[in-house]
């Protein structure tokens, strides 16, 4: 394994141009090392899809996680082998009659946050269903419960232990509940990509995206980053999570000028390299990669790539499918192609 942090002189002793060159070299080494690991990760992902298919076929059940299969489909989109075909068909078969997706096949036939993942994945492949627009419109129509005037009034008056502005709403995990960071961020990415790709004509894209962005900025933790949904409750500020921060940052890439977005990116850059978990490392790398190549992010990307490679070395075989697929996508993003970049 290449230990990419083994650079001789201290960082402080280097001039800016020298440091930039060294950092680029560090990134190249990380990328080379990452490509080798990526091959192994893709291998594990393919094996997991085959195993999954065989297990459920034997039990005559086919409970697939829409999140996992969406991420797997995204990871295998350029491969298009039998595992890709299996993931594609399984994902389309899991769809509800109204065009939304449940959390998993066999689930209650009610759309949920996983619709954003499926729309994002199927929107990125050539073999997308012709009526994917149904799912996109379901997302456009869906909103957190605080969008309703009554609940907004309740949160503004009598139920205000949790700090947030209920006039700014996004998307919930499941219908009938309040907006949370991760479903909102994934919905924003899915809708932004659907809009940019011209998947359907939808006049409400801009309005929904704009409201979702405002919701995320409102829920940011003091000092940057995001927790699961709110910045403070009962007078205590929440601390950010790496994955929620990374996914929120991915959805806010076009708002990089916002001070809160910059602060969140800085927070992520300081936390990521020391993170021991592949799942958070992978999402963090995807976010860092989406924000381009400034010195701070290059350094973070290199160190986090090494951390991810080390972490994968310890546990790749035991990870769940969504984590494996996210790791594959992160290693690909370090190499230049980021499916979540908006």
């Amino acid at each position: 394994m290449v230990h990419v942090t083994a650079v001789g002189p201290t960082r402080e002793s280097l001039t800016k141009p020298v440091r930039a060159i060294l950092l680029m070299r560090v990134v190249e080494l990380a990328m080379a090392s990452g490509r080798l690991v990526a091959e192994r990760v893709f291998g594990v992902l393919r094996a997991r899809l085959n195993e999954d298919q065989a297990v459920y076929a034997r039990r005559q059940l086919h409970q697939i996680s829409v999140e996992s299969y969406s991420l797997a489909l995204l990871a295998l989109r350029n491969d298009r082998g039998s595992e890709y075909i299996h993931a594609l068909h399984a994902l389309i078969a899991a769809r509800n009659s109204d065009g939304s997706w449940p959390a998993f096949s066999g689930d209650d036939p009610q759309g949920c946050w996983a619709t954003a993942m499926a729309v994002l994945a199927l929107g990125a492949v050539r073999d997308r269903p012709a009526d994917l627009g149904l799912g996109i419109r379901w997302l456009v129509d869906e909103r957190g419960r605080e969008a309703n005037w009554f609940w907004r009034w309740k949160f503004q008056t009598v139920d205000n232990n949790v700090k947030f502005d209920p006039a700014k709403y996004g998307w919930s995990w499941i219908p009938g509940t309040t907006s949370w960071v991760i479903p909102t961020a994934f919905s924003l990415i899915a809708l932004q990509k659907a809009k940019d790709g011209g998947l359907i004509p939808e006049p409400r894209f801009s309005e929904r995206i704009s409201m979702g962005v405002r919701m995320l900025l409102d829920r940011m933790c003091p000092g940057g980053g995001w927790n699961a949904g709110n910045s403070a409750a009962f007078g205590v500020a929440y601390t950010p999570y790496i994955d929620a921060t990374a996914i929120a940052l991915l959805s806010l890439r076009r708002h990089g000028h916002e001070p809160g977005v910059r602060a969140s990116l800085s927070w992520l850059a300081t936390q990521l390299p020391d993170c021991p978990s592949p799942y958070s490392l992978a999402w963090g790398l995807l976010a860092i990669a989406a924000y381009g190549r400034k010195n701070q992010t290059i350094d973070t990307a290199a160190r986090a790539t090494e951390a991810l490679i080390t972490a994968l070395g310890n546990c790749a075989a035991t990870l769940d499918m969504s984590t494996i697929a996210t790791c594959a996508l992160a290693l690909e993003a370090i190499d230049g192609e980021n499916v979540f970049r908006v």
Binding site: W113, W173, T177, I182, A228, Y241, Y279
Partner: protein, 333 residues
Amino acid sequence: MSEVDRRRALVGAAGLALGGIATTQLLPEEMWVRDRRPPQSRVAILSALAYSEDLADSLTRAIRLFDLDLHNKSVLLKPNLVEYIAGVDVNTNPILVGAAAEAFIRLGAGGVVVGEGPGHQRDTYLVLIESGFDEQLRSQHIRFVDLNRDELVRVPTEANFTGLDHLWLPRTLLASDFVVSMPKVKTHHWAGVTLSMKNMFGVVPGSKYGWPKNLLHWKGIHRSILDICATVPLHFVIADGIVAMEGNGPLHGTHRHLGKVVLSDDPVAADFTCARLMGLHPERVWHLDHAARFLGNGSADRIALLAEGLPERVVPFNVLPQFAYLRMPVASR
């Protein structure tokens, strides 16, 4: 039958139907569920000053008091693993969980797994590493199952406090012969307390219900606790009250060294006992009060204390102002 009689009969039938509906809505929900309270529940309170290697021996001796048939049974330990906050004891201590695993193996269990589905943090592995669980479980070769991402089974609810007619639950939970709730004894800013029953929120899978399981909050935390605990098989409790939490729990409270581990074959009895150790009125906690009407025993005369008794004097836990009514006077328990 004449036209007038037929009309009267129809009006009468409609009246009866409406009356029936009104009655079912007005009567307490626990009247419509099976009373499953045992004649007597058993609780063992153990003193333990610290998280140490000795806990496995203490727990083995204490579990023996219950005379359980654990031979070849698959045991699922469900700790309270929420997230890692540096310097704050938020989670059930991994040493206690390891000790419980060791004790169940010594007592003949066929296997022990630890399972949890954290409520807010999607990166379960990160929480495992940061909280020390990963190291503890690896050292004892104990498997961990992320209940947020397990295969799911549709299970009809066995109570109707939320209006949910079914829950999707992890297959690992349902396939286990013996499920042990291992809560951290804490106050809770929404529910008043979080003990063995509230701890079972963690078996509800995030992959279906989200992070957090926000639907359960909208249905009412207390009501959801009752539906979950009426539906989920829950056989035993080992509550971590060695270092407990008071004030703004479950995450941002302050440590309270209670020095107790509470074991029970009835989660309601366990939670009533823990609340009493916390100096709080258990019957004033909505879900505990209702659980004691059908799910288990709360009344002291139906709880046999197998080990230590309740202390004579308890300094009540600090609570947020909205829960001040839960606190007992210092002298009583």
